[in-house]
Symmetry: C2
Subunit: 231 residues, 2 copies
Amino acid sequence: MITSKDNEKLKTVRKLQQKRWRDRLDLFAAEGEDLVEAAELAGWEPDTLLVAGVDVEGELLDEVSALGSGSRAIGVYRRRWSEPGGRLSVYLHGVGDPGNVGTVIRSAHALCDGPVVLGPDCADPYSPKAVRASMGSLFARPPAQAGFAELTGTRIALDAGAERTLSDVEPSGPVVLCIGAEREGLPPEVLSGADDVVRIALRPDGPESLNAGVAAAVALHDLANRMAADA
Amino acid sequence: MITSKDNEKLKTVRKLQQKRWRDRLDLFAAEGEDLVEAAELAGWEPDTLLVAGVDVEGELLDEVSALGSGSRAIGVYRRRWSEPGGRLSVYLHGVGDPGNVGTVIRSAHALCDGPVVLGPDCADPYSPKAVRASMGSLFARPPAQAGFAELTGTRIALDAGAERTLSDVEPSGPVVLCIGAEREGLPPEVLSGADDVVRIALRPDGPESLNAGVAAAVALHDLANRMAADA
């Protein structure tokens, strides 16, 4: 039982709150019994597993928590990356909010067979907030890393200013749904390189856009339903 | 120009981070120029408006920020509540995460004509995180407060364990989409009282559910599209 806050394992967990340490050690931490259980179900062997009252004093575990939620368990794992692919997948470009990145990883796991592909300037999917928001889907479906130019299949870009709407698309796989930052949207090279540029039909008297994590799920659900009907 | 942190207006903004003060004063604070602008566009007169460098020293405004985002403007407004109604609206029951409540207010503003109706045990829509997540839609479409028994129209409950899926519904207005907490779901009295209980079709190898804010938007988009096609 760890009883000192100077313990090396605790120090490592604390360091992993920072991206530079995650990059240097190629590890990340997942907080909470539900996430540790999800990792186990998906066959991930922890590098370190700290359970309050078993491996470590509860108060010491609280002190290294990045989420301040009084987790009863923290697991440390080696990072993994998938390859782009699948009949339906998502490409994120400049989505800097870790909660959104994690939420899209969860939604993609629920709605499509391909991974979330992270392009430039996205939040680190292995940051504490992203891991938490993914709710274990990160373990079942690790994200991929690739640029837009490396994507294959029909690339459908979401853009709030597009003339065509999602329902104008006749999806035939493989399809990659491309989503940008909430304010800036997708950069010109993605919009001009995409096979189709569409918007989600919103009320004219409402907001210009949906939250990026919400938009991804709405579009994936719509595309997945119609691709299933075609199959 | 306010130059003292003991200024009464600054003290009020700080107090409004707490629900008991929002209830007592019937006020709330919105942080950031975009939210203050959204309030103005929607015709809300601020009780107090504090702009950094104009009304108050920037550092003092930072100190009363609930979001720690270095806001350049904070507006204080009187709370407003809508009445339930509309051809399509949302009822939340036990959705305790303020980010989710705010996100649903934004999505409902984008996708349906009725308000978000808050039932028991929901996060305060006027808390700093909820106001931020609503991205100004709170001003255009203030939420309503009501119990399930007060709702009229076709009440469609989302439940991850339902046999029927969303696409089995033949929506005819007015429709109220009912959504519960992510883990607990909707309570028995709502499930038994609803006119239909359906799930969003998810992959069998994926997570059991979507984030509550995401699920609301996916279902609203689906229902709104089919109600528009019927109209």
